[in-house]
Amino acid sequence: MAVTATTLTLTFSEEAHVVISSMILTRHDLDGDVPIDTKDKISLLESDSVSTGQYVLVSDLRPGFRYTISMQYTDNHLNRYEENSGVLDTIVLPAVLSCSGDSGTSDLTGRPRNLQIKQQDGYVFFEFIDNSLCEEGFSFSRTQEVDEFLTDFTKGGTSFTSDYYYSSSQPYNSLITPEIEASDDLRLSQLEVGRQYAYCVRAIRKDHYMDSPYEGFNDRRLLTSSAAACAAHTIKWEASIDGLVTTESNAVSN
C-alpha cells in the first residue's frame, strides 16, 4: 500500500487474484472515527476482481490523517486451487497519509523547504517555503548545537517565539515570512556575538503539544508535526547610527 498526501493505493501482489466485495474506509480523528464514503473516491476498479499488479486507488483524502481500510474480498486463486477458495475474507489495513506536498522527497511530514535566516535590527528573521499540506502553523526552535549536517535539533532546542507556534495556513508552496512575529529578538535572547546557533522550523497542527522521543521516522512520525528544517546562523555584532546633516543652527534661514 502506498500513500501520498491525498491518495491511498492498494497494489496487489502477483499471486493475488481476488474479488473485492466491499471496502470500508475510516478516518481516525481525535474526535472519533469518521467513515468515509468511498463511492466517489475509489477508482480503477474495472471489475469486481483484480489481478496481479492491479491496484485500488483511493483519492481525495485529507492529508496527514490516519486511515483504516477494511476490505472484504474473495481470493479466486484460492477458490480455484485451495480448499477455502471462494470464501469471503476481511482485511484491515492502516494507513497514514503524507503531509508533504512534494512527492519527490522521501519526507512525508511536510518539512519546510529552503529555510533562510537573516539578522536585522537585532532580530533573527526566518524565511522558508511551506512544504506541508497539513500545517496549521509553524514552530521554531533554537539550539547551540550545530553540526555539519544540520541535524534536527528540535527536541533539544529552545523556543524563542512569542507563541509556541506561528499560526499560518498558507497554501502549499508559499513563501513564509513571519517577520517579527516569529523572530528571535536578540535583545531578549542575549545571544553571544560571533557564536553559531541552529534554528529549526517545522510545520505543525494546532493540536501538537509535545514531541515524542522516538519520532523521527516515517513509520513513527507524529501526525501533528513535520520534521524540522534547520539552518545555522552566526550572531553578528550589530548596531546603528541615525544621523542628520543640516546647516548650522545659526545659519539664518528660518
Binding site: 548596531a239 541615525d242 543640516t246 545659519a251
Partner: protein
C-alpha cells in the same frame, strides 16, 4: 577622542528651526577594535549618503573575531564626512562640525563614535559649516567702472516674523570687490551697502527679496554688483594770487581719484565755477590748459599748472552731502530758536546772520578747490626818505656787492625801513597779498660793526636804547630778525593787501672805511618757494676815528672818497702824521652830468649821543690816551639823539661843521 556615545546629544528637531538639510553627504565609517585598530571584515566598514532630508543611517552588522563575545563592549567607530559642490573654478569642499557643532570634524583622523552591540538609538547631528562665497563689486556710477573700496556690504535675512537680521558683513577691497563667506543654508533677502551715508543702486536684476538660498549646490553667487549713485557739487577756483585775479580761460579735468577714467573736460572762464552732479568721492581736479582771450596758451601759468609736476588738487566729496545736511539742520535749528525777550531779537538776529555767513564760508570751503597762480614774488625795500640822503640819479649797484638799492644815511641816525612784498602775476598784473606763513628776515649790518675800535665805540654808547637800535637784527648781537608778513585787513578780518613789513626802526653806526664803504641791510623772504632777497647798501656818512698812527687807503676810482679838510685847525692830505685821525668822508659819485656827491660827513669815534639838555661837547678818549675834544656846537642840535627816545626828541641833521682839539 570622543566621549561615550551615551552622552552624545542631538539638538531637538524643534530647536533646529532655521537649518536646512544637506543631502548627498558621504559618510564613510569603519569599525575599530577596542584598541582602535581598523577591523577588516565583511560589514566592518562602508559608506552611506545623506538623503534629501539630510538623514543618514549607518547600520552595522559585522562578524569579526575582535567582536566575538563583545556584547557589552563599547566599540569605536570612526566616521568621515565629505561632500563637494560645484564652485567657480574649483569645487567647494564642504566643512562639517561635529560634537554638536562645537568643533570641526577631524578630516584626517575622523570623528569617533562609540557603539554597543544592539544599540540602535545612537543619534548624530552633523552641521555643514561650509562657507559659500558670495561676491560682487561696488562701482561708482557714471564713471568708467571706477571702483569703490571700503564700502560695507551686509547680507540681511528677513525672518518669517518680520525680524531682519544680519547674516554677514564685509568690506570691498581696493578693487571694489567683496567676497563674503556665507554659511551654507543662509537665505539672503536683502543686501545693504553702506559707505559714508551714500546711496547705492543694484546693477543686476537679481530678486533678493524672494530669498536667495545659499547652498553650495546653488553656487556660485557672483556678480552681486552695486553702484554708488551719490552726487556732490564742486566749486573750482582758478585765480591769480590771493587777490583772485582773473587769469584766462581754463580747461579743467575732474575725475575720481585713482581711477583710469578719462571724463569730458570742462571749460572754465570765470575765477570760480560750480560743477554739479559729480561723484561724491575723492576727486582729482586738474587745470590742463589755460589760454588768453586770443586762445593763446598763457605759458607761465600753464607751466605752473602743468609743468614737470602738474598740480593736482584732491577734494574729498565723500562726506560733502552729510556735512551739507548737518549745516542745513544747524541752520534750521537756529531759525527755530525762540527768544523770550523781545529786546534780544535784534541781537540774536545779528548773531545768527554772522554765524550763518561764517558757516556759508565754511560750507563753501568744503567742496572747493583752488588753483592759484601767484606769479613772481618781488620785494621792495623803502628807507625812510628824509633820512636817505642819496641824491644821485643812478648808481652802479654792482659796485656795492650786487646790492639791489643804495642809500646814504648819516652816521648815528635812526631811520625807518619798510618792506613790501608783491606778486607780479602777469605783466602789469600785481597782487600785494601774500601767504601769511611767509616771513621776512632782516640782517642789519649798518649799526654796530666789527671794525677796529668797535669796542671802544660801543662802550661810548652808554644809553641802552641807543645801543639797542644799533644792535637790532645785527649778526653781531642776537642775529638777524625774522618778522611775520603783515597785511592791511578788511572789515571781515581778511588780508586786503599791502603785504610786507610796515615799519622797522634801525640806526646807523659808524661808517665803513673799507671798500666799497657801504654797510648792508639784507632782507630775505623765508618760507616761499623762490629765493627772494634784497640787499640794501647803505653808505654811512660821518666822521671816523682810525686811532693813532693808523691810515687807510683811499679809493682810486669812482666813487671817490674825498677826505675833506674839515674846517678848523688843520687840513689833511695824509693821516699818517696824526695820532688820531678824524676823517670827514664824502661820497662822490661821478655822473655824466658832472660831479655829484652824497653828503657824507663822518666823525671818527664820535657819535651822536643824545642829550636832552645842554651838553655841547663830548670828550672822547681813545686807546692811546689821546684826549680829543670835539666841539659839537655846530653839530649838535637841541635834543640830539635817536628818535626812539620819546616825544620831543628831534633828530639832528647832518653836521655842517666841527672842530677837534688834539692833546686835550
Amino acid at each position: 577622542m570622543l566621549m561615550d556615545n551615551s552622552i552624545l546629544t542631538v539638538p531637538c528637531y524643534s530647536s533646529m528651526k532655521g537649518t536646512l538639510p544637506i543631502e548627498n553627504v558621504k559618510i564613510s565609517w569603519i569599525l575599530l577594535s577596542e584598541t582602535f585598530e581598523e577591523l577588516a571584515c565583511d560589514g566592518c566598514n562602508g559608506d552611506v549618503l545623506s538623503n534629501e532630508g539630510g538623514v543618514f543611517t549607518i547600520a552595522i552588522k559585522a562578524t569579526a573575531e575582535a567582536l566575538n563575545g563583545r556584547n557589552q563592549a563599547d566599540i569605536p567607530v570612526r566616521l568621515f564626512f565629505s561632500k563637494t559642490s560645484p564652485g567657480s573654478s574649483e569645487r567647494i569642499v564642504h566643512k562639517f562640525l561635529c560634537n554638536n557643532g562645537v568643533e570641526y570634524c577631524d578630516e584626517k583622523n575622523g570623528h569617533y563614535v562609540y557603539l554597543r552591540h544592539l544599540h540602535f538609538d545612537t543619534s548624530l547631528h552633523i552641521f555643514d559649516k561650509t562657507s559659500v562665497p558670495f561676491s560682487g563689486k561696488v562701482t561708482i556710477a557714471d564713471t568708467e567702472g571706477c571702483v569703490l573700496p571700503g564700502a560695507t556690504i551686509c547680507l540681511m535675512h528677513n525672518s518669517t516674523l518680520g525680524i531682519q537680521s544680519q547674516i554677514i558683513c564685509g568690506d570691498t577691497d581696493t578693487n571694489g570687490i567683496y567676497v563674503l563667506p556665507v554659511v551654507a543654508g543662509s537665505i539672503v533677502h536683502e543686501i545693504d551697502v553702506t559707505y559714508r551715508g551714500h546711496t547705492f543702486s543694484q546693477t543686476t536684476d537679481i530678486d533678493y527679496a524672494a530669498g536667495i538660498v545659499i547652498l553650495p549646490e546653488n553656487a556660485p553667487f557672483f556678480n552681486n554688483n552695486f553702484e554708488d549713485i551719490s552726487k556732490a557739487d564742486l566749486r573750482v577756483e582758478i585765480v591769480g594770487g590771493q587777490c583772485n585775479e582773473q587769469l584766462g580761460k581754463s580747461e579743467v579735468v575732474i575725475k575720481v581719484m585713482n581711477c583710469e577714467w578719462s571724463p569730458a573736460r570742462f571749460t572754465q572762464s570765470g575765477i570760480m565755477q560750480k560743477y554739479t552732479n559729480l561723484p561724491a568721492h575723492l576727486m582729482h581736479v586738474e587745470v590742463t590748459n589755460i589760454v588768453d582771450k586770443n586762445e593763446k596758451q598763457i605759458d607761465p601759468i600753464f607751466q605752473h599748472f602743468q609743468g614737470e609736476r602738474p598740480i593736482v588738487r584732491v577734494i574729498d566729496l565723500r562726506d560733502a552731502n552729510v556735512i551739507k545736511a548737518d549745516f542745513t539742520a544747524e541752520k534750521q535749528s537756529i531759525e527755530t530758536n525762540t527768544t523770550t525777550g523781545k529786546e534780544n531779537i535784534n541781537a540774536l538776529n545779528e548773531e545768527e546772520m554772522g554765524l550763518s555767513a561764517l558757516e556759508e564760508g565754511e560750507e563753501e570751503k568744503l567742496d572747493s578747490v583752488r588753483f592759484q597762480y601767484n606769479g613772481v614774488l618781488r620785494m621792495q625795500v623803502f628807507i625812510e626818505e628824509r633820512k636817505d640822503m642819496l641824491d644821485c640819479d643812478e648808481a652802479d649797484l654792482a659796485e656795492y656787492g650786487d646790492a639791489q638799492s643804495l642809500h646814504v644815511i648819516d652816521y648815528m641816525t635812526v631811520f625807518d625801513v619798510e618792506v613790501k612784498l608783491v606778486y607780479e602775476i602777469l605783466t602789469g598784473l600785481f597782487c600785494d597779498i601774500v601767504d601769511d606763513d611767509l616771513k621776512i628776515l632782516v640782517d642789519n649790518q649798518v649799526g654796530i660793526d666789527s671794525f677796529a675800535g668797535n669796542k671802544e665805540f660801543e662802550q661810548k654808547v652808554v644809553d641802552e636804547d641807543t645801543l639797542d637800535l644799533l644792535s637790532r637784527c645785527s649778526p653781531l648781537n642776537l642775529g638777524a630778525c625774522l618778522f611775520n608778513v603783515t597785511h592791511d585787513m578788511n572789515a571781515e578780518g581778511e588780508n586786503s593787501g599791502n603785504a610786507g613789513l610796515t615799519k622797522l626802526t634801525l640806526a646807523t653806526g659808524r661808517p665803513n672805511i673799507i671798500s666799497p664803504y657801504t654797510k648792508n641791510i639784507i632782507f630775505k623772504v623765508i618760507g616761499g618757494t623762490s629765493d627772494v632777497a634784497h640787499k640794501a647798501a647803505v653808505f654811512v656818512s660821518g666822521l671816523y676815528s682810525k686811532g693813532p698812527g693808523n691810515s687807510f687807503a683811499l679809493p682810486t676810482h669812482e666813487p671817490l672818497m674825498i677826505l675833506r679838510d674839515p674846517p678848523g685847525r688843520f687840513s689833511l692830505s695824509s693821516s699818517d702824521q696824526l695820532d688820531s685821525l678824524f676823517i670827514l668822508l664824502t661820497l662822490c659819485i661821478s655822473f655824466a652830468g658832472g660831479l655829484s656827491y652824497a653828503k657824507y660827513e663822518n666823525v671818527v669815534s664820535t657819535f651822536k649821543s643824545y642829550t636832552t639838555h645842554s651838553e655841547t661837547s663830548l670828550k672822547n678818549k681813545l686807546n692811546l690816551g689821546l684826549a680829543t675834544s670835539v666841539k659839537l656846537e655846530p653839530l649838535l642840535c637841541a635834543g640830539f639823539g635817536f628818535g626812539l627816545l620819546g616825544p620831543g626828541v628831534t633828530f639832528c641833521q647832518a653836521p655842517t661843521a666841527f672842530s677837534t682839539e688834539v692833546g686835550m
